[in-house]
Symmetry: C2
Subunit: 315 residues, 2 copies
Amino acid sequence: MSNYCIGIDIGGTTVKCGIFKVSGELIDKWEVPTRKENAGKNILPDVAEVLKKKIVSHGLTNNDIRGIGLGVPGPVEPNGYVSVCVNLGWHKIYPAREMSALMGGTIPCKVGNDANVAALGEMWMGGGKGRNSIIAITLGTGVGGGIIIDGKIVAGAHGLGGEIGHMHMREEEKEFCNCGGRGCLEQVASATGIAREAKRNLAKSDLPSKMREFGDAITAKDVCDCAKAGDKLAIDTMETCCRYLGWNLALLAYVVDPEAFVIGGGVSKAGAYLINLIQLYFNEFTQLSANKPEIVLATLGNDAGIYGCARMVLD
Amino acid sequence: MSNYCIGIDIGGTTVKCGIFKVSGELIDKWEVPTRKENAGKNILPDVAEVLKKKIVSHGLTNNDIRGIGLGVPGPVEPNGYVSVCVNLGWHKIYPAREMSALMGGTIPCKVGNDANVAALGEMWMGGGKGRNSIIAITLGTGVGGGIIIDGKIVAGAHGLGGEIGHMHMREEEKEFCNCGGRGCLEQVASATGIAREAKRNLAKSDLPSKMREFGDAITAKDVCDCAKAGDKLAIDTMETCCRYLGWNLALLAYVVDPEAFVIGGGVSKAGAYLINLIQLYFNEFTQLSANKPEIVLATLGNDAGIYGCARMVLD
């Protein structure tokens, strides 16, 4: 019996790796630097070299491994093809096939987009544990999303599934988003977006605010901390940002209606304060039904990716 | 071999019924009045009585029928339970179990929400034919939606899947929607919503407009016809409504990213004019990717429900 599975979450700086029991127990994790030079040709061999030693060090053989899941920071086609992955230097590659060959050709490998597999991880052993359909939302530098319905990732027919950060929400926004659009969710609800909103509010107000002490370097965490401490302008800022998030979750509820939303990323460290504020606006925009998705915090942090990669090979 | 399947689309006024070959060919269709009195207890027996005769008249027996699919105008729980269906007078009923018993207990029956099964019908033999994931949008009195991913209906964990008519879109809306919210898509993009928008535009403008001839009885069709004929206020109205539709489709593309959107309902009779206008705004709000879902017209009209009901039993 193959009772172990392996998750490999490939980021632009490091590759996070983990060995799991198929029950979901993490038995070892480590990182390998991501060597992006030479079109990223060293990335998978570097990972495989360490992985082989790790398997042996745990007294295991390839026969004990049910599969290896890979997460990559970019679009993955349904057949596992990666046309281009800017953050890794990859072009026209089938990463799962290459990984399988590097490991001797006997271990099944799968590949998925990193935001999607992180959602799967949170469903397996994180904030969404025990549920079968969730939407995971990551509030970091941008806003990422991963959609799981009936235990399966919804990647979409053109790789756009779960790209919720670019949903147009704010009609009056004048600045452009990286995507070329204007008024995208991530322009107002990412860590970057929250800090920017705070700076805008400070600039157009004469009110005293503790936020002024941080100057241009103010972060989303500073804004959250000031809001929790009762700072009026910080509260206004968080209310604006969380209203867009609550509205967005309401939109998602009326489309796929998951069992729960699982909120992660740096901004989610604001905890219950953030969730309660999002919940308030979510309720306002979902009047059709009293019975609706829950909103919970993610629990796996940066490990969500390796959990999800490992879970991916269990289907 | 059971080479036939049956679709029963139960509406508030009539029950539409069809016998299909499993290939998708419709071989007979008929209607039965919906008797809502007595808590709707006669509806299924009425349907069964006619259906038995129809099966015989086509030289078939129950053994030739692979299954019977029922569509009901209200929420259906995953186990087939209907807690309440206002339009039929039903309370606490398992319609598929009852139908199966009425037909002798040997034919498998399934039940689904009517908007969802209509989407399945359009995917099977309509505007979405040949595709595996579509979102069907019905622009009628309200705005209905049905979401199909990998050939399966996404009904949602609380029956809210595909309730796109109640997605909040218009921040400045002052009137309330039936759902208790404000600024729902169907307030501006349903047939009712388009007519209302036209009346608002006429009231606040001094421009001459052919739309004025219709007075308070103006319909969405009148607005579309005037717009096609070059009437300035009618064009403005259609641009506003179609901008919300294009924006909404962009939101849906960034959530589930179907292969295609299939637009049906009375408003869709405006044809290419409507689709082209929606497409214009859809492109504006989906700048992330040149590769995106198509927007096509539904083709089955009022028969989409019976097609979808019949298709439901083939899985």
